[in-house]
């Protein structure tokens, strides 16, 4: 499903070039879940953004279901992301001017593959029924993150990427959100990659790998 081969990425800084990813190789099958751990600044988020096609890589290839996304144009990449990938960020990234249900439906509508029944199921499973017409500012952090999860899964994507999805939530809320999230991921049968600092959360996933010094351990 996901094949990463010799991915390299560096940034120019005032003190010289900073190599963040120094040849990453990784494979992940459909329905597999992977926790990506590592210290702050180890390049976890950079790798995650590269997987989502949000960040260009300097070398290597990233292939999702045999499509080499690192070779796609911005337009093709946008279409691929729209139809095949779901992303959950630490900061929720909901559109503040759309209601919960509008936010959840957003990507599916953009893709032209709105499955109202599945979205209703997601909303119910994530406990958002009573909040469908509310705006993000009217929700707690946990509720906002559940809405972001619903949006990421609304399209039944092939790959779901989550960057510290519970980083802004307290431990108890984080665990609850994570549990529901993983249940839905299993139900969707998608590949799942999650960046986290939290070893306990990492332990809830099938595989764990650690990023250090720009390489996977």
């Amino acid at each position: 499903m996901l094949q990463i081969t010799d991915v390299r990425k560096s940034y120019a800084t005032p003190v010289g070039t900073l190599e963040v990813l120094r040849g990453i190789d990784l494979e992940l099958g459909a329905g597999e879940t992977l926790a990506l751990t590592g210290e702050s600044g180890s390049g976890k988020s950079t790798l995650m953004h590269a997987l989502a096609g949000l960040e260009e890589i300097d070398g290597g290839t990233i292939a999702i279901d045999q499509t080499v996304i690192s070779a796609l144009s911005d337009r093709e990449l946008a279409a691929f992301r729209r139809d095949r990938i779901g992303i959950v960020f630490q900061q929720f990234n909901l559109v503040p001017s759309l209601t919960v249900v509008q936010n959840v439906r957003l990507q599916a509508r953009l893709s032209g593959r709105l499955d109202a029944g599945w979205i209703d199921h997601l909303i119910e499973a994530l406990g958002l029924e009573s909040m469908r017409a509310r705006y993000p500012e009217q929700l707690s952090g946990g509720q906002q993150q559940r809405a972001a999860i619903a949006r990421a899964l609304a399209l039944r994507p092939d790959l779901v990427l989550a960057d510290e999805p519970t980083g802004n939530l307290d431990a108890e809320t984080g665990d609850l959100v994570m549990e529901v999230f993983l249940n839905l991921v299993r139900e969707t049968q998608c590949a799942f990659v999650m960046v986290t600092h939290n070893r306990r959360l990492a332990g809830m996933l099938q595989r764990t790998t650690r990023l250090a010094g720009g390489r996977l351990e």
Binding site: L54, A78, F80, I87, S97, L110, R151
Partner: protein
Amino acid sequence: MTRTFWTLATLASYWRRNPIQLAAVLVGLALATALWSGVQAINAEARASYAKATGLLGGPDVDVLRPRQGTSMPQSVFVDLRRAGHLVSPVVEGAIAVDGQRLRILGIEPVSMPSAATPEALSDDGENGGVPAFLSPPWEALAAPETVRRLVGDTALPPRRADRSLPPDLLITDIGVAQRLLDSEGLISRLLLEPGIELPQSMLDLHGLERVPPAERGAVIGLTDSFHLNLTAFAFLAFAVGLLIVRAAVGLALEQRLAMFRTLRTCGVSARRLTVAVFLEVVVLALTAGVVGLALGYAVAAVLLPDVSGSLRGLYGVAVSGTLTLAPEWVLSGLAMSFAGAFAAAGSALWAVYRLPVLAAARPDAWRAAQATEMRRSLGAAAGFVVLGGLLYVLGDSLLAGFATMACALLAAALALPALLDGALRVLQRVARGALLEWTIADMRQQLPGLSLALVALLLALSANIGVNTMVGGFRETFLSWLDQRLAAEIYVRGATEAQAQAIDDWAAQQPDVREVLPGRIADTILDGVPIEIRSAVDRDTYRRDWPLIAAEPGAWTALFGGEAAMISEQTSVRLSLDLGDTVDLGTGPLTVVGLYADYGNPKGQVMVPLSRLEQDFPDARRLGTGVRLDPAGVGAFLTRLEAAFEVPPDNVIDQVSLKRLSRETFERTFAVTAALNVLTLLVASVALFTSLLTLFDRRLASLAPIWALGISRRRLAALEMIKTLALAAMTALVAVPLGLVLAWLLVAVINVKAFGWRLPLIAYPDQWLTLGILSIGVAGLASILPILRLSRTAPSQLLKVFANAR
């Protein structure tokens, strides 16, 4: 299509949740379009009136034969030319007063008239009477519909028929009727010549005629062009101020939607689709605001048109219709301006959306860092505009160059203002003592990027006010003092006929209480394509002592009355590049220029020669009112005796006090439009400040909440917010004073000279600056009341949310 629709719907959801910001964009764009299109409507109406008037003078394809000297010729010239087989048609022109208002009379002979010059109503001689009714009793006359309405009930004039193709305040009638009305039997003003007809020069010489092609008859249009350019410049300034509102609101909307853009990009919307969606959004905004702006513009034009009409009549003696017509090209140009404005304001935002990488879009701090760079770039651009303005001033020699210099000064100041204010605040920050004061100044600096466009709008409006008020104030002072000297005679009287005028002059000279009698004559000519009046002077103390001169050779008056010298008005000096010591030839031999005098308000140039010389060289020169000098206390008694001795029409006698009052009224009316546009520009700037403060409110909470948490009450914070806004407005007003003076100097020393031909002294009015400063602080205070009231009523829970969101 579906994807673009949902992208658009998502973008639109922002405006639905932020209606005040949406209103700011629409109001800014609508006001900008309104002022621009309003002034364009006025200009179009005025130009249409000129076009009608020019058409009547002969039409674009008709040549005119007119006397080389004087303003009329015997009717026998027409008879001689026709008998010689030349297809000419006579015209007589003059003006009479009807109920105190001027009515231009144009007498024509429709049968011989070139078809290109024939009024519309005489072209179809069918259902409405046409030529037969015009040529037979009771001699139906033609006039614009509004003039027909104005003359309802008048029985002294022939019956009137409306003709929409005619300009206002004009009556076209059969030439015989016109000669009777104008008391000029046997005389004609000019002859119209069929297009393409050759006429031997010998024939012209024989009758003392000159042939004038259509291009040289556009002098009035050339003069009024400067007035319209003036209006257009003002409208453009207001338009620019309006655009600043839009740019501020659009820029803020972009910054606040960065997270939304990122989300859309991560959900698979390509940069191109997102740009197209933002583009379409701007189109919808421009269209909505454009339509509202056009409606407002129409209203503005309808309100201002009577004043503009008055100004044009006062300044140039041209009649402009007082009613507005809605032309499709005006609607289209107004909408085009709205679109151009919207894209000018949103262009950089569109580019940023297209260029910004997905991840950078999520970092507002990167955006702000870009703003700091922009501030440095703006300072560089400001310096560039200063240099360009300097070059234009030194090298340019036209009205357009004058306006371009002014635009450079405004742009330089606008670009430099944020950096200037930031620099001043940085200095204040260094000397500030006390935690709250330090925070206040630091917070003002932080607030600057969000408010800078509104402050620039305020700066432009204030400096334009200072500049124009200084120019008008200086003009008023100069004009009134000039008027006092120029209108020295206590009474001005004009006889109903030449014989009566002569009798009055003789009678007045014998009155024991009369010190001096000042008869006068005036003739028209054209020198190097410039319309010139030749006026007379008589060798009396009133001229030698009271006539205001700008510059003169020693013994100028003695030289003038010697008959070999002339004095010229400032306009003549500028337009014909003549100075003291040069010679001017009126077709009767060279005259040395020995004096320059101001002649404010006269669209034509003027040359002054002794009365005896004028009567000798220009026998057809018409009479001016005779000035009578006597003790002011004896004016009433003199008028009573004059009334008993002569049947002078009441409109032909006026005393000095009334004449000065009329002149002052004309002056004030002339600048009424400028004053109105000044106020409107300031109003737009207030709206800019108001909308900026209101739209920035949410962002301000993030700055204020930590201070509130440290123990400063909401009420105190609200007071501090008000003080900060007032301080920024006051600092802007301080910058506006020198900028306004630069504008005033450009107006009096460059633009007025090029546009009107006179230079005015630059007089400073500190009391006006103070008033404007207080006004700007008041405007800022009013603009900040609502946002500050919102802040003082903000619930603690909302302030706490700032921390919740920051978690």
